[in-house]
């Protein structure tokens, strides 16, 4: 079985800043959320955890699996979507011509590459490669795999597995912080 969870809250989440691949740690509320999730999901079996290398995801994985003998492996393909020069923008919707806003209105047509960022196709390629090369073989062996990641990256994985890559449903599942989702591969 494949499980996926998003990291706990950070100060940039609270300030509505675009984080993307900027490495922001959890705040106290985020650590608390991860600890509550650890208690809530303590009876769910995981064989291995794959995690984004960004600190907020790594911290979440460590708190979530604290005291359990489960390997945590970082994989670059699980990083958050890259918003390039727009990372750190606070409340991007107050900037009417901010190009990345389009991703939240029309993910199905958004494929802009902003400076230093990446396209939706690139996000789909790298997460798709992770699913096919890592997650799928393990799940087929009968392993329980946990992914600890991010809002857009998790949405992309969910979109590919649950909705057959139908990008109109990219945001369909919400992906709240520290809520575990079970995916049938």
């Amino acid at each position: 079985m494949l499980y996926i969870i998003r990291h706990g809250r950070t100060d940039w989440n609270d300030r509505k800043k675009l984080q993307g691949q900027t490495d922001i740690p959890l705040n106290d509320a985020g650590r608390q959320m991860a600890a509550e999730a650890a208690e809530r999901y303590k009876d769910i079996h995981f064989d291995v955890c794959y995690c984004s290398p960004l600190i907020r995801a790594k911290e979440t994985a460590e708190i979530l699996l604290n005291g359990r003998d489960i390997p945590i492996i970082c994989d670059d393909r699980l990083k958050e979507f890259g918003f390039g020069i727009y990372e750190g923008t606070e409340n991007s919707f107050s900037i009417p011509d901010c190009p990345v806003n389009e991703m939240f209105f029309h993910p199905e047509t958004y494929n802009i590459k902003v400076e230093g960022g990446e396209t939706m196709d690139e996000l789909f390629d790298r997460t798709g490669s992770f699913i096919n090369e890592v997650a799928l073989p393990l799940v087929r062996e009968g392993k329980d795999v946990l992914i600890v990641g991010h809002g857009a990256m998790n949405s992309c994985i969910v979109c590919q597995i649950k909705y057959d890559s139908d990008r109109t449903k990219f945001w369909a599942d919400g992906i709240p912080n520290c809520e575990l989702m079970k995916l049938d591969l």
Partner: protein, 51 residues
């Protein structure tokens, strides 16, 4: 010879004008609300997807 009852014509004109006015007012409110909802949904998505 055509005899015109100006009261009837005036009343009809007023009714048509009132209908057009109400139609555009309702449409404006509807589309504004719809636009606001689209913005709110996108903001919620950005709070998730931005991180």
């Amino acid at each position: 010879m055509i005899i015109t009852d100006w009261k009837i014509v005036g009343c009809l004109f007023l009714r048509i004008a009132a209908f057009i006015l109400v139609y555009f007012a309702v449409n404006t409110i509807y589309y504004r609300q719809k636009h606001d909802i689209v913005i709110i949904v996108a903001i919620k998505r950005s709070e998730i997807g931005g991180s």
